[in-house]
Amino acid sequence: MHVILDALAMIGLSYVMGFLFYGFYRQFSARVQRRWGPSIWQNFFDNMKFLLKSETLSHGPMFFFGPMIIAAGAITTVLFVPFLKDSDWLQGFSHSGNLILIVYLLVVGPLGNALAVGSSGNPFGVMGVTRGLTRLMGLEVPFFLGLALVMLQHETTSVHAIMAAQDGIAQWNLFTNPIAFMVILLPFIASQNASPFDVVGAPVEVYAGPRVEFGGRLLGVLMTQNMMMTIAKLVLVVDLFMGGATNIFILIAKAFSLFLLTAAISLAFPRLKTEQTVDFFWKVPLGLGVLGVVATVWFPWGA
Amino acid sequence: MLEFLDSPGVLQGIYITGSLTLFFIGLYGLLAKRHLLKVLISLAVMEMSVYLLFVGLATSPGETAPILADGLATFTGMADPVPQALTLTAIVIGMAVLALGVSLAVQYHRLTGNADIRAMSELKDS
């Protein structure tokens, strides 16, 4: 019973945080552009509108199951990320998982969805999927390398153990292992599908992207999982680099501050092409990561 | 006047020079002549030179043929019989080879109208 309640709480929390964060992001970006901007609830309205559409087009069973898989993947991811430190609540099944598993779970959903896109038979959608996979190929290497630096630092893959090791603010990995944080920061933004690495979805401008054929309730499901996934990733980085959180408010505060940082970076830069993205990731963050490895593993200054 | 020729050294020198000359004549013919029969003859000449060398060098002046006849009961003063026997054998063999060679050459000429050793190119197929 506890498990079920806990899981429901995590799902609910991540959804609520998700649409609020996104709503904030839209307003924030509107203000940056000297607009009034939509209400903070706008994402909730959009999502609900789609979930309540009376007609939904389907291209066959796989097209239908894709969004289901991606949603299930998002829920699974959320449930495997511990939201709180030293608490019985909001843990989900994170004790049965580890960091590497979470990193891979982040990809499960998109791949399931890619099947649905392919099943639709729309070449523009598949083009978008390929772009997404290409970007994934670019971002995952530095992202994982940064995480590996953290895993190496604590000699564990368990998120709980890494969280537990960061007692005070001075022990935050953000400060003890700043290179790792710098390495993962930009790939992290890309993994959120945020500007400047958002050419995959190419909202509004380009007649392509994985969602080209989705409409109605299926699109609603996709939006839902996107918000939840965003929160899962934010919480993961909070856990790894900012010492986790002992209660929901601290969690929201830390996640929000991290979100503010990434949003600020997002808004400041124009969009990159896919190959530019990949090349960038393989040069700058990965180069930084290699330097980090050399500095911390090959010639550790502490030893 | 020509007695110095009887001294074994000079005699053997002559044998050696002569047979080697013959050998090289044969070799020249073998290498330079294109007619099959000439080539075969050159071969025979080469063989002949070796026989000559053998018999010549194995015999010293004054030795008689190694035949126990006419009252001769001992081997004194006779030439070594072995080289002569061997040479005879070799001549027979050489004969046989030559005969086979000539017969083949004749057949080849009959069949193809050709007796040029360098024009034999039926087997070069690659």
């Binding site: 939509p38 209400s39 609900m48 309540l52 009376s54 007609e55 909202p203 007649y207 409409g215 699109l219 | -």
Partner: protein, 210 residues
């Protein structure tokens, strides 16, 4: 081909307009009203410029007019869009695309006819290849007159549409569904053999459910 043709021309238009009279939002249940409110609060506009009016649509998203504060933003594909804005005159060639895009949108879906040309042909009233009355071919929910209407007028139109949706009035898509034969007949008259595929027509005639 298009059977079920009980009426013709003006009679049909009259009947269609009369059919939606007298219905009010007050009759909606709580849940329906909530749903209607959600729908009107988020309108995705298909980014499809048919004519000169498209110029007037762009400023809508800019800082000056900022339609996003009403929940109105662009959508790249008809599958995701709620509103189709017929922005200016429609050529015969464009009509086919418009019909196709409209049929690909998911219900509930709405159409705004922007400018005189789309409403009654405007200055192209005697052109050989311009569509005079868009609402003969697809159902129009809101007319924004003018040549050209300013973006403020367009926002006014959107606001009116939102009001209409909030009231729960039946949208044009329901009209399209019920009078598909009439619409298809009109379309065929203009397009001839060059009609868009019959997916929606077949769907409606197959009962249109599940």
């Amino acid at each position: 081909m298009y059977h079920n043709n009980h009426c013709e021309g003006f009679q049909c238009e009259q009947r269609m307009l009369e059919a939606s009279l007298g219905e009010e939002g007050g009759e909606l249940g709580v849940l329906d009203r909530l749903v209607a409110w959600m729908r009107q609060r988020s309108l995705f506009v298909l980014a499809y410029g048919t004519g000169c009016g498209a110029i007037e649509m762009r400023p809508l998203m800019t800082s000056r007019f900022d339609a996003e504060r009403f929940g109105i933003i662009g959508a790249a594909t008809p599958r995701q869009a709620d509103v189709l804005v017929i922005s200016g005159y429609l050529a015969v060639k464009t009509l086919k695309r418009v019909i196709r895009s409209y049929e690909q949108m998911q219900e509930p879906k709405y159409v705004i006819a922007l400018g005189s040309c789309a409403i009654n042909g405007g200055m192209y009233w005697d052109s050989y290849n311009t569509i005079k009355q868009v609402d003969h071919y697809i159902p129009v929910d809101m007319y924004v007159t003018g040549c050209m209407p300013r973006p403020e007028a367009l926002i006014e139109g959107f606001a009116a549409l939102q009001e209409k949706i909030k009231r729960g009035e039946p949208g044009g898509f329901q009209r399209y569904r019920e009078n598909i034969d009439w619409y298809k007949g009109n379309q065929r008259r203009v397009l001839g053999d060059n009609m868009p595929p019959d997916y929606t027509y077949d769907w409606y005639h197959a009962g249109g459910t599940a």
